[in-house]
């Protein structure tokens, strides 16, 4: 296997392995701790969804949780028994009254609705970048929240939609998160995503070589909407209930924080950030209700968990401005074409070297030129 193939394999298998580790640990936890583990996996799925748009396009969006909200409510309503719907949500539109979908159907519906909603929003917003994109997508979140919180013909309004079948266990959350990772990986190998990433680096130059930025951004936005909608369905099916406040500001900012701390421009960063900070977040939340670590029981005052989370968030960004992964994919540096890492051949004549990158000048090659040749030797591609 060539080095570049290894790197590609690591790019996918690193995040998948991390998801697998969480699943393995979760399988041995008590039921209540399993709920937390499932929540970590579902949150990581949302973060991967955010990454697909924000990471690849370089455009900020505060609106992706809207798609998770739509997915969560659609999946929740359509899997609730018809009689329960009639009693708890008497004002529902007729088309929401039936049918009753299976778990899998509801996951697919949520992904589809997330994508559709993202398409409608994206058609209007994808020309925006920078601050304008931030404000406009934030407006989408506000609009979605207020409609869901007040319009009782499409859902429970401000009340909690309870008695949703709890069908997302550790297995389904793991598979769901892994599916999101695989989809994000496949997408970032695609032609469309490569061009989108070019536009992230330099929008003007990208247009100059023929990149229709709006179109590729829209593609990423819709795919991100699908993943977020899907994650919303996992969310509702893991808890068995949903209130609109759960898919609003707090989730928006915590998942964005996870993406940024992990490293917003790599799939590895998104997955790592989602899982690490997800674990941290649920630990701190539990600590507010009293927890035991290594036999030591303690209870954090209410609100302190958010403060600690925020301080750690700021600290992480000060130490790693480009995220814990420095925006690199898993093992990308170790498997990269770095002179110091490879069996070095110095100079153009292919003379075996000692691994030194500075060039010993034994073949008369200046150090800079030697480094260049070393890089070439390390490069396995044509």
């Amino acid at each position: 296997m060539t080095r570049s193939r290894l790197r590609l394999a690591a790019e996918l298998l690193g995040p998948l392995a991390l998801v697998g580790v969480v699943a393995l640990v979760a399988a041995h936890l008590s039921t209540s701790d399993q709920t937390d583990a499932i929540n970590v996996l579902v949150t990581a799925t949302i973060v991967v969804g955010l990454y697909v748009f924000i990471g690849n396009s370089g455009v900020i969006s505060f609106g992706q949780i809207s798609f998770a909200a739509v997915g969560a409510f659609a999946a929740g309503i359509y899997t609730t028994p018809v009689s329960t719907r009639q009693t708890t949500m008497p004002d529902l539109f007729g088309f929401l009254g039936r049918p009753v979908l299976t778990n899998l159907e509801s996951l697919l519906l949520a992904a589809g609705l997330g994508a559709l909603f993202a398409l409608l929003v994206g058609l209007a917003l994808m020309r925006l970048s920078g601050l304008a994109a931030g404000i406009a997508t934030f407006a989408v979140l506000e609009i979605t929240y207020n409609i869901l919180a007040n319009w009782e013909k499409i859902g429970p309004g401000p009340t909690t939609l309870a008695s949703v079948p709890v069908t997302t266990g550790v297995g389904q959350a793991t598979i769901g998160c892994a599916v999101a990772v695989v989809v994000a990986f496949a997408y970032q190998r695609s032609r469309s995503c490569r061009l989108l990433r070019a536009s992230r680096a330099d929008a003007l130059a990208a247009r100059g070589i023929g990149v229709s930025i709006v179109r590729h951004r829209l593609g990423a936005f819709v795919l991100s909407g699908a993943i977020c909608g899907f994650a919303g369905a996992l969310y509702v099916h893991s808890l068995g209930s949903i209130n609109v406040t759960e898919v609003y500001l707090a989730l928006t900012f915590s998942t964005l924080a996870m993406l940024v701390v992990g490293g917003s421009q790599s799939l590895w960063g998104a997955t790592l950030g989602g899982i690490l900070l997800g674990i941290l977040s649920s630990f701190l939340t539990n600590a507010e209700n009293g927890t035991t670590v290594f036999g030591l029981s303690f209870t954090l005052p209410n609100g302190l968990s958010s403060i600690i989370f925020a301080i750690l968030f700021v600290g992480a960004l000060m130490l790693f401005p480009r995220g814990l992964t420095r925006n690199r994919e898993f093992l990308a540096k170790a498997l990269g074409e770095r002179p110091a890492r490879v069996g070095v051949v110095l100079g153009s004549g292919g003379k075996p070297g000692d691994g030194s990158v500075t060039g010993d000048g034994s073949d008369g090659t200046p150090a800079a030129a030697t480094t260049a040749h070393v890089t070439a030797v390390a490069d396995p591609e044509p």
Binding site: A201, L204, R207, G208, I209, S212, H373, T375
Partner: protein, 258 residues
């Protein structure tokens, strides 16, 4: 691309006027470019050279006039549409995608106009080999030397196999010894695909040596145009560059034949 109008010119700008906030950057400039022709565009700072290239490539909307590519009006098309029609350009300072590798930069130039990944890889390999940058293909573009960035940026435009290639200061900051490689890259684009090429550069010797025809812009208007030797002997050109003192120093623009 069908030809027919504009006396068969590949690219024809007619009476192009571009104004920024009321200030005229270009006043009724007419320039043509034929297949397999290299046209140099020179003139002092602020003459409107880059504005003309921006107008041709769609980055500067024109206020009056027309721009035809292969007989088709393109002046209302977006830059990306023009790129798909075979018009490629470079930018001053390269404007590479800094976090992507040199190879990726060049490949994307082909992929963006619809090349298959395989074909893009093939062309990129050939081009990088030709300009001697294969060794640095995997380096992030931002870590390349300025000169290498310039050459990668030209390669990113050439790889699309355009019919029209607009080069905005490709030689800026290049050491003299690598000008030859750049010139051969430009020649390659002309000879292999019959591309028409417009070159802007402050290195007048480089432009005159490379071009079949030279257009001199000054204050947003065409001062003169003709063969390199015509331009060399044109008193107004030196005056435009150096003021009246320049006319006393004809040596400023003399060169040996390339």
């Amino acid at each position: 691309m069908s030809e027919g109008a504009d006396d068969g010119h590949l690219l024809a700008c007619q009476e192009v006027t571009v104004a920024f906030a009321g200030l005229r950057a270009l006043s009724a400039v007419s320039v043509t470019l034929d297949r397999a022709e290299i046209v140099g565009l020179i003139g002092p700072n602020g003459a409107g050279k880059t504005t003309l290239v921006n107008a041709m490539s769609g980055f500067a909307p024109i206020d009056h006039g027309s721009i035809r590519l292969g007989g088709t009006e393109i002046s209302t098309l977006s830059p990306e549409r023009r790129a798909h029609r075979g018009l490629a350009r470079t930018f001053q300072h390269g404007r590479l995608f800094g976090d992507l590798s040199a190879r990726e930069n060049v490949e994307l130039g082909a992929i963006a106009v619809g090349c298959s990944a395989r074909e893009a890889r093939r062309r990129t390999h050939a081009l990088l080999e030709e300009i001697g940058l294969l060794a640095l293909a995997a380096s992030p573009a931002s870590e390349l030397s300025h000169g290498d960035q310039q050459r990668v940026s030209v390669a990113r435009a050439v790889v699309a196999e355009p019919s029209v290639l607009l080069l905005d200061e490709p030689a800026a900051g290049l050491p003299a010894e690598s000008l030859g490689e750049l010139a051969s890259l430009v020649e390659h684009a002309r000879s292999v695909r019959g591309a028409g090429i417009i070159v802007i550069d402050h290195n007048v010797e480089f432009v005159l040596g490379l071009s079949d025809r030279v257009v001199v812009l000054d204050h947003g208007e065409v001062l003169t145009e003709g063969t390199p030797s015509h331009v060399r002997s044109h008193a107004g050109v030196a005056a435009a560059y150096f003021g009246t003192i320049g006319t006393d120093d004809p040596g400023a623009l003399t060169v040996q034949a390339p």
